[in-house]
């Protein structure tokens, strides 16, 4: 187990967005967090990555308590996330977006006296990542000029650039075309061989084929857990998704 949450709770004034959530994310497995809109999936992501502070509960990463750790430090410890709305640096090129992600692990982020050409040392690794997500044609294009789906792909490339131990992907397939969905699913499968992956995803066919474990959230609470087959047969899950048990 690389990432664990116990009794996770988050209140916003009188509203409880996440309530008593326990979560175990394991090495070399893809774990899906699903649920209807407003179930609290993204809030759980924000709590786990420390962009939000939990009201109650504890979070451990690789055995270390990160409940009170800053989000940038959590990222440096190996827990890296992508965002629901594509998070790229719009006025930087695709290459520069990936290089920015590579700069810190390669100790090339604080040198204000060195020329930009010092970053050329990262081009080999950056190009490899760009090729792996099929963005080689757009290498020198501004991220702002990419389609939404291509931006998502770029975000995945920058996330992978950090070589994370745990990868949190918030709706990685949202807004993608069919070709990209297949490619990204394959990338996630490949990545998960050596890492833990936790993903929020609405595309249930992707969840069915890709994920080893599924946690269903509803109104901030865990409704069901298990493999896809058992979860999809759960009448409570059917009701939550379709509004009727027979659907």
């Amino acid at each position: 187990m690389v990432l664990a949450a116990r009794g996770l709770r988050r209140d916003f004034g009188g509203f409880t967005a996440v309530k008593d959530v326990d979560l175990d994310v394991h090495h070399a497995r893809v774990h899906a967090l699903i649920g209807p809109n407003g179930a609290g999936k993204t809030t759980v992501f924000n709590l786990l990555t420390k962009f939000l502070q939990p009201t109650h509960g504890t979070i451990t990463l690789l055995g270390e308590d990160i409940t009170n750790t800053a989000p940038d430090k959590v990222a440096r410890m190996g827990l890296v996330r992508s965002f629901q709305i594509s998070a790229v640096f719009p006025h930087l090129t695709v290459l520069d977006n990936v290089r920015v992600a590579l700069q810190r692990p390669n100790r090339l982020a604080t040198q204000f006296w060195k020329p930009l050409s010092a970053l050329d040392a990262l081009n080999g690794k950056a190009d490899q990542l760009i090729r792996s997500v099929g963005l080689e044609k757009e290498r020198n294009a501004l991220a702002a000029d990419l389609s939404y789906g291509r931006k998502r792909v770029l975000e995945i490339a920058t996330t992978l650039a950090l070589d994370p131990k745990v990868l949190l992907l918030d709706e990685p397939m949202a807004g993608m075309g069919h070709e990209d969905v297949g490619m990204v699913a394959e990338i996630i499968r490949e990545v998960a061989r050596e890492r833990a992956v936790l993903m929020v995803e609405h595309n249930l066919s992707v969840v069915a084929t890709l994920c080893h474990h599924v946690t269903v959230l509803q109104r901030g609470e865990i409704l069901a857990e298990g493999d896809y087959a058992s979860v999809s047969d759960d009448p409570r899950v059917r009701t939550a998704y379709m509004g009727t048990e027979e659907a």
């Binding site: 990555t49 962009f51 800053a70 989000p71 940038d72 430090k73 990222a75 440096r76 890296v80 996330r81 965002f83 998070a87 790229v88 640096f89 719009p90 006025h91 930087l92 520069d96 290089r99 920015v100 992600a101 700069q103 810190r104 692990p105 090339l108 982020a109 604080t110 040198q111 204000f112 006296w113 060195k114 020329p115 930009l116 010092a118 970053l119 501004l142 702002a144 920058t158 950090l162």
Partner: protein, 330 residues
């Protein structure tokens, strides 16, 4: 095939050649300028241009709008003036005192300000700068409302007499070029790339493991130190340091200069500073209030060319052809 390759290479070379020509031409104009203009007027432009460029390092490249940069500009002017006049240090050392003082002041103000974003950041910088203003008003070494007057320009490295206008002008020009070169190096460095990424998407930068606060503080201190360079220089040029330089109006003026010239362009603030200083100088004797004119110019700029003078040129057909194309958030 070879012809296509050659044409491509020629196309890539054109912007570099054009930019080098522009840079060379600008330097030649600055070297010859004292033949046509009053040197103190030119030195004032260069001091304010360096101030605006240092401010732009923070606003244009890190996305932080400080409303308290007058504290560093005026503070450095006081530190340099005091060091040169009271301690009798040479001018180069006096300027260094100003730079170090401004950097320390920047570290203190920045430490508190970077904890907040947007308007709150601007308000904290304004509040702390105004506290420094009242400190300057009360402190003994600043001589209150009289300021520090009759600051000797001294001899550069004990050799060059800076009381001669032409010597002083070329000294100011040299410091200006060095200051701009430092800013250019910072923004075109691995560190500068991280600053741009923070400006573009701070949340993403945090999620990639960057301690955004540390980078912002470093940029803040660098900007304060370079502003101090301009402030110290100004104290030597005008031979006095007064409360005018630490007031909030000065912080407003540098924002105006930067916006007029073009945020996020290296030399935009130079043009903005030149325009504002020229307006102030030529309208000083007019009965019409200068502030109204600069206000109208500012409004026209915001409404008609939001990228600023240089920003609009960079994005014009000619600018793009010369390779100056400039992409910036507005």
């Amino acid at each position: 095939m070879t012809l296509t390759f050659e044409l491509q290479k020629q196309k890539e070379r054109t912007p570099v050649v054009a930019q080098t020509v522009f840079l060379g031409l600008g330097l030649v104009l600055l070297l010859l300028a004292p033949l046509f203009f009053y040197p103190v007027f030119l030195m004032k432009i260069l001091c304010f241009a360096l101030f605006a460029c240092a401010f732009n390092l923070l606003l244009g490249y890190t996305g932080l709008l400080s409303f308290g940069h007058a504290a560093f500009f005026g503070g450095a002017a006081y530190f340099t003036a005091h060091a040169v006049k009271e301690w009798g240090v040479p001018p180069e050392l006096g300027i260094l005192v100003g730079v170090v003082g401004a950097a320390l002041l920047g570290a203190v103000i920045g430490f508190f300000a970077i904890r907040r974003q947007g308007i709150y950041f601007a308000m904290i910088t304004l509040a702390l700068a105004q506290m420094f203003y009242f400190f300057c008003l009360q402190a003994e070494f600043t001589h209150g409302e009289d300021g520090i007057q009759s600051v000797p320009r001294g001899h550069l490295f004990g050799l060059l007499d800076l009381s001669q206008s032409s010597n002083m002008y070329y000294f100011v020009l040299a410091i200006f070029v060095i200051g701009i070169a430092i800013i250019w190096r910072i923004i075109n460095s691995p560190f500068g790339m991280i600053l741009k990424s923070i400006r573009e998407n701070e949340t993403r930068a945090i999620s990639l493991g960057y301690s955004v606060r540390n980078y912002k503080l470093a940029a803040f201190v660098m900007s304060a130190a370079l502003t101090g360079l301009a402030g110290g220089l100004k104290a030597l040029v005008f031979q006095f340091a007064t409360l005018t330089d630490v007031g909030w109006q000065m912080s407003g003026e540098v924002i105006l200069m930067t916006l007029l010239g073009g945020i996020g362009t290296l030399i935009g603030p130079l043009f903005g500073a030149a325009l504002v200083v020229t307006l102030q100088n030529y309208l000083a004797t007019s009965e019409f209030p200068v502030t109204i004119i600069t206000g109208v110019v500012f409004m026209a700029c915001v409404l008609l060319f939001r990228r600023g003078i240089v920003g609009e040129f960079y994005n014009s057909r000619l600018g793009r052809r010369l390779g100056f194309e400039h992409r910036q958030k507005h």
